[in-house]
């Protein structure tokens, strides 16, 4: 009783890539946290004359939008991998 050819033992490039992609997804919230804390330094550091709320807000919204775009990109990329291998691997 033979079976169809087994997948090779060693991790393929593909699943290696997928794991690193997941690493990136895991790191995103930390990046976000750092980005969201930066305006404090900026607004506090600008001599407190009050003119920076608008620019601080602009920065914040830009960082926010960037984070969302990055996340969307990574998730879409991941979905290409998961179409045919829904396996769950331990972090490498």
């Amino acid at each position: 009783m033979s079976r169809p050819p087994q997948p090779p033992v060693y991790l393929e490039r593909r699943s290696y890539r997928r794991r690193r992609l997941i690493d990136a997804i895991r790191l995103l919230p930390f990046l976000g946290f750092i980005l969201f804390l930066l305006p404090l330094l900026a607004i506090n550091g600008s001599d407190a004359t009050g003119g920076s709320t608008a620019w601080g807000g602009l920065y914040l919204f830009a960082a926010w939008a960037g984070l969302i775009a990055l996340s969307a990109g990574l998730v879409r990329w991941l979905s290409h991998f998961d179409d045919d291998e829904p396996e769950e691997g331990p972090p490498q």
Partner: protein, 122 residues
Amino acid sequence: MAKRVLLIEDEPNIIQAISFILSRDGWTVDTHADGATAVAEVERRAPDVVILDVMLPNRSGFDILQDLRAAEATEALPVLMLTARGQKRDRELAERYGASRFMTKPFSNAEVLDTVRALTEA
């Protein structure tokens, strides 16, 4: 030069059968029946393919396979695993420990032949 197969199996009749099938196809077949010394035998003979039974005297085929995969020289050696226990767990273990192929006894001669050929062509 004929390619060489090392058959690690302890059932004399099965040894005879596989040796006959492969020799007729032009392979050089060496056989070995003991689990404890199997790894050393593989290193000594340096075959092109190993056919490895799971239930061997003195040492399990899975242990042997793990040792082979851990050593640099035999890390990528094609190993065809045979078992007569026919359990899912055996297949899973074989996959986990890095068997190149896995077959449940009884097998058809053509399958053995095809698999051994395929393993050396790749």
